[in-house]
Structures are given as C-alpha cells and as structure tokens.
C-alpha cells in the first residue's frame, strides 16, 4: 500500500485551507489587474464564476484589454483544452448521478484533479473532489472581489512568492503517482516536451503535447503499437 500524508479529513481540510489561501491572493491579483486594464467592473466577477479557470482568465483579460476578444476566446479555449483529458481521468469521482456530474464538472481545475488523483480510496475521492473544488471556487471568487475593491493597493503577488507556491503544490500532489516507474517515465518525458515547445507554440498547446509522453509505453509493450 502507498502511504499518503493525507490520512484523515482534518489533514484534507488543512490542505484545502492552504491552497485556498493562495487562491484568494491570486484571485485578488486577477481582480486588480482587470480593473487596472480599464476593463468594466463586472467582467472579473463574470469570468471567475462562469469560466473559473485562472490561467485562461489572466490570458483573456490581457487580450480583452488589447481589444481582441476573439483571440481571447480562442486562446482561452486552447489553454483549457486539457480539461477534456482531465475529465476522462477523473471520471465519476464527483459522483455518478447526472446532477453531481453536471455541477461537479464546473469545479474541475488542475489542483482539484491533482488532489483527486492523489487519493487512492474511491469513497474518499468524491469527498476530496467536492471539498477542494468548492473551496477553490469560493476562495477564487472572494479573491476576485477583494482585488476589484482594493485594486492597486494589493501590490504584486509575486512579492509573496505565490508564483512558486502553485507549481510546488502540484508537485507535492503528483509525487506519489510518480513512484510508479511507467508513470514517471511518461510524465517526465511529457514535461520535457512541454518545456521545450513553450517558446515555440501558443499557450496551452505545449501542455497538450505532454500527452506524447505516453508514447514511451509503446517501447515497453510493442504488442499494443
């Protein structure tokens, strides 16, 4: 059996508070940046509830401010295309009923997927998905509101080192699955491909190209190629 650090609900709640606190701060920087661009006040609220995908929101407001809403939509959709394979991997973790899936799917983010996949027990996967999903949705929206209200008074979230916190959080969550050798080879190959392609391709595409890392499995099992 794999030993996991998150062995009880209290630990899960504590983890949710940590990632939620970071989400408030980054959400605030999203709200503040949108207002600083001179975009309407309702825009960040609408985006944080209807889109709820941080990376694409930052990307889109930059393009909105540049007067190019069509590019904002296309770039945002490309960046969010990874949610399709994420949805396939998470499957019925949010519940099997139609309503649970229809609502739960909206809360799917990188961190929710990482937390859910890190939980081996199927019964606890569902709890993890909803707790992290709802925590992130509410903290992201509270953060957005704070950013709109406080605006420039917030300063730069990079000064708080939050740009380092999110990749570190993802690494902590995926490390257990990387103990499996085949998964590790696939994931690290994919990461190298993504980093190498980042200067060359539009945002989102290099991440999707990480799926090419699955090709390393063919070498081991030629019967499936």
């Amino acid at each position: 059996m794999r030993t996991l650090q998150r062995t009880d609900d209290r630990a899960l709640r504590r983890d949710a508070v940590a990632i939620g606190a970071a989400m408030v701060a980054v959400g605030a920087s999203f709200g503040a940046i949108t207002i600083a661009y001179g975009l309407p006040t309702w825009l960040p609220f609408l985006m944080s509830t209807v889109v709820f995908a941080g990376g694409s929101q930052f990307l889109a407001v930059g393009l909105f401010a540049a007067g190019n809403p069509i590019a904002a939509v296309l770039a945002g959709l490309l960046l969010n295309a990874r949610h399709l394979p994420f949805g396939m991997a998470v499957g019925t973790a949010m519940g099997t009923r139609a309503r649970a899936r229809a609502l739960g799917s909206h809360f799917m983010t990188d961190e929710v997927v990482a937390f859910t996949l890190a939980e081996p027990d199927p019964a606890r996967k569902r709890r993890t998905y909803w707790l992290i999903g709802l925590t992130l949705f509410s903290t992201w929206n509270v953060g957005t509101a704070l950013g709109v209200l406080l605006g420039g008074a917030l300063g730069d979230t990079d000064a708080l080192g939050l740009d380092a916190a999110f990749p570190a959080a993802l690494i902590a969550l995926i490390l257990p699955s990387l103990r499996d050798r085949a998964t590790r080879t696939v994931a690290l190959t994919g990461a190298v491909i993504a980093v190498a392609l980042t200067p060359l391709l539009p945002a989102g595409l290099p991440i999707l190209c990480a799926l090419l890392g699955l090709g390393t499995l063919l070498r081991r099992r030629p019967s499936e190629s």
Partner: protein, 102 residues
Amino acid sequence: MLIAAVIVLGIGTYTMRLGGVLLRERLHLSDSIQRLLPMAAAALLTALAATSTIMAGSDLAGIARPTGVAVGALLAWRRAPFVAVVIAAAATAALLRLAGIP
C-alpha cells in the same frame, strides 16, 4: 461583445470539462486504456508544474521562482506536510526577491 466572449469561453470550457467525464463512460474503454488515463493526467500536471516553474511566458523565469519550487519539491519528496511545501516554496521565492534576486 465582451459579455458574449466571456460566455462563449465559459460554455466552451465547461463543455470540455463535462465532455471528458461523459466520454470516459460512452467510449467503453478497455482496461488497458483506462489504466492510461491517470498517466495522461499525471503527464499534463507534471508538464504544467514544469512549465510554470521554469518559464514566464515564452522566456525563462528568473531565479527566485525555480528555487522556491525546488525547495518545496525537496520537502514534498521528504514527505513533509502539504502546507509546509506550499509555505516554504512561497517564502523562499519571496525572500530571494526581497534580497533583490528576481
């Protein structure tokens, strides 16, 4: 125009989220393909972590962010609690920047 753009982006993103969940069931995937799905997600998440650690847009990130992530990753590898990983990564990057290292 702006409101329409946000709604299209929202609906498109939601469709991909729900679409993946529904596809998994509709496709009746074999066990060996199902086994690949968590691997695919791990590859995507590792790639996200790696690119957001090393790259800022299409340029390299400075020193503070990768160092902070490295400290966090080391703690995670030593099985430190998640909270400690997140705080150590942020604190390292913040302190380096305070010291004038970008």
